[in-house]
Symmetry: D3
Subunit: 225 residues, 6 copies
């Protein structure tokens, strides 16, 4: 069983939660990634380049679960077919926490992946999709944003990634063809500023956030400066 | 230094976060309560009764910090005077987490206390209010709602209080004159249902929620049933 | 012509507006129900059980119009086919008030039904779908929520169902396999508390609420306690 | 006891709910109006003119309760003094429905009146403000907007005023100095269009709308055209 | 290359931004229109009538780009097919500003067109859809509302169309069969009132509005009256 | 008469719109600044230092109107007194565009200044505050955010400041004691990314944005990358 599973649309979408995945590994947790497309539409690299780049990133992340699907880039369709492809993967990974893209993101593939994940999480939970006649439910489903132009809200939660920031830059650096280093740095600083950390990653809460251990409220940040 | 400080308007306002305070004590944390009024306007009990009831609750809660102010019930005024009364208390308690009423609550005293706390937290942070020339900032400021009629939003975060629910009922029972037992039970069940816990308490996030320890994401709830 | 038509996704979805349907019958109005699926995916009962349970509930409700469709449970698809199936039923029932599920509900079938109803109500209104070359428009389209986890808003309107609550429990009791009695009771009390009634049901307004008779503003509730 | 009480800031603020007041009288209900200022700051008329104009409107409205206060126009202050002036008037009128200005309106007096009414309604409800040791609560508090520039939301509810529109024009015509005829006509048509009526008036719901009589859902409008 | 391209669902949808198109021509800019359906479902006119009416309007508008597609009226489907039909047209027109319907509009065709345009704008921007291996991006994508019943927000921006209002009435008059003159006049006055202009048209901002020339902030309106 | 007037709470608050002020001067427009406090509470510099720093910035900005008030830092009170102090200054400057802090900002002084400006703009518009018996209304009132922790919304409009960015750094550098260089750079890049510019400044729209010249829609940005 996986602890944290990220579901993204393109190779490099996982970059905005790479810090969280690295922290999870430091804590001895199991992590996973499902990527819907091979990123062939961008025009900055071949499909093969992008597959290799994500494979390299996955290795640095020491993922315990990794699937690279082959939906058409800039052509992911929300619907029953995509849901049915994802359901057995979710059951196989059985993550405790699912992290995916916020449905208000700009890229149409992001919207489609987000809606597909929401629906597949529900359907995968039904007994009939289990090998042992049990229901399954993740403890949390959380969302991240890659392009906030069409999302007028800032994230609800900031994860302190200061302790893994250097390693995050290394992982993100695998996506050489995409030239995202400056964006990643800017975003980490901006989220850090919002959270009172040196570097941060932002998450959106859409279902109520569930908390059993109140020690979590005693984070390491300082509000203000 | 206090870990969790609740600031409420009336004796019994703390009832909606009593579970959180009890969990904090179980974890060896220090808790505190500041109550703005003595609740004399309600018409169900004398001022003396309500003071005694809150004192009893405070003892069961084993609070490490407790101040019962004497603002007029149904007449709390937001403004510089209330802020200046609260600032030295905040500095004295120096809580890591501040919990107070959501500003959209129905009761005008709740609105006034909420705005006073927000402003006093800022002012208290300035060096000139310290004994050692240091700034102070809580790690989180979180909000709770006592009467959601004028607050159209449900809480953003649910705390699992199943492990302290019986004790919570005992503490809340101190407010005998107020007849809140049914409300407390209904609210705990409703919040539990939202969070996938047996019993829960709801909190609102208004500043980004700050998280350093990602183990907190692995709560004990089950989404769905 | 039906006065109040409920469109739900599963047998027992009508439970959250059962009180409203019972009040309507008390007032001599005609009521109806369209249910999209036979609820076979839940795993707590057979398809036959659930069909029988809803049939029993429908009888107790003394419905004037009742259609039980056979979309796949946990697989309702929004799209032109579902719309075209619903359009003639809407024209046949020609309800004055349509009540359906809020599109922000958690279950993917609920989302699909909600969107299908919105679109079908529009299309059904066109002259070409009438037997007498007339347009048709309901007076109100209102929404209810079955699972507010993904709907951060509380209802906009509370219906006082105190006078039919006992009968509501009886109707809801028909869905024996689903174990929803506690949820129904909790919800009725919570909505009652929001509205100042003993028991209530909540509705969401998405188009402006239309009111011709201002006596309706003089409800039987008491704000506050 | 008054059925419908309007609280406005200036002579002519009542114009946007004049239709509702006229309908109430047609139904044999008692209506009232409290106006905070005498409108001397506008520069289009003397204080005496405006007082006379509102007095004329009040007579045509056949108000059962009418108080014209003398707060400074363009200088209404929200605070304990205004609240304490309003509380005994609310208790005297004891309205079932209170209608006042939405707090997001543009004019600073509108904001101040809105906040004063909200707080005074709460305080007036306390037993100590009664002559018979009873609490008091209105059944509904609803809001109207006079200038939506700073209110980005359209109204939640449309009242059909087609049956009293001619009479409304007559009443509104009393405010000759203000030149509001075109605004009133435009607003009545626009709200009518939103509600599917010939002429309408819009109201905002901020607490849940309470409904005991479901016949109200069967309004006289037609959605669409 | 087109400066301003409007994408609507039905002949006459362009009426709410006709003023903007006329102003653009006055400034020597190039304008265009893509209309998805031929409006045959309304029941007030034949398909041929509506095609002719829009053709007449297009001529008065002196459009530089005009495509009248043939999606089924009241049956526009959002999906990959509609997107793929629109992509080459967007590339052909290469507009600097795209104006389309707000996705919260009432008519299901409006929702479908809005979502199709958003997705097609993204896809059309990819190099592979260019004739010269270049990406393309409009400078702004803005939205208009034809029926705000299901859109609870007022527009974010008001365009002053007072200087072209007479000509706008002439253009809108081409849609004789639709009887929209009163709606158009009411809307222009209402938007004018919101903006402090004699006549106005409203636009919604969903991505941040981009402004290079700050002289635009010095509009000709007067706030207040 | 001033074209653009900024009203801030502390020396250096103007930093987030310095680019806009510099662009205005480039266009031959008149600019002004009113600062409410002398910034003595921060603890990083003396009052005299901060006054000098703002004076230096004002000179580099070549302001046509500049008032430095002396409200207590961390103690600005919203109310009639602050309004009455501001009204004659607004009339004196008579700006076409007023820019002030968004009311959801974190610092309590920011909230107080924002509310004071909104109210004073209205009051200053009355004839009785003119020297020539005329009303006055700015064409736009726009808002900026200095600390978005308590403002969950991103700005609605991005101004391209790429052409004045170097000069902006120089002006902002006058506030040596505050160490804001990194924040200013990060914010300019982040806003630039949102708007498709190299460097940007963000503004919030709260009243409808008024636009007379549609050429403004043809900005110099590129959406996407």
């Amino acid at each position: 069983m996986i602890d944290f599973l990220v579901v993204g649309a393109h190779p490099d979408d996982e970059s905005v939660v790479t810090g969280l995945l690295l922290k999870a590994k430091k804590e001895g947790k199991k992590t996973g990634l499902i990527c819907f497309t091979k990123g062939e539409a961008g025009g900055f690299a071949t499909k093969e380049d992008r597959v290799r780049e994500l494979k390299n990133a996955a290795e640095l992340l020491e993922l315990d679960y990794f699937k690279h699907l082959d939906h058409p880039d800039a052509g992911v369709e929300y619907g029953i077919e995509a849901v049915e492809e994802l359901v057995p993967l979710l059951r196989e990974a059985s993550p405790q926490v699912v992290l995916t893209i916020h449905p208000d993101d700009y890229h149409p593939d992001h919207v489609a992946v987000s809606k597909t994940v929401d629906r597949a999480v529900f359907v995968a939970g039904l007994k009939k999709h289990s090998s042992d006649d049990k229901t399954w439910h993740p403890k949390q489903v959380l969302y991240f944003s890659l392009d906030p132009r069409t999302n007028s809200q800032r994230p609800d939660m900031i994860i302190d990634i200061s302790d893994v920031y250097e390693k995050k830059l290394e992982v993100v650096g695998c996506h050489q063809s995409q030239g995202i280093a400056q964006f990643v740095e800017l975003s980490a600083k901006q989220m850090g500023m919002l959270g009172g950390f040196e570097y941060g990653e932002g998450l959106y809460i859409r279902q109520p956030f569930r908390l059993s251990d109140i020690n979590a409220l005693l984070s390491q940040n300082k509000i203000g400066r």
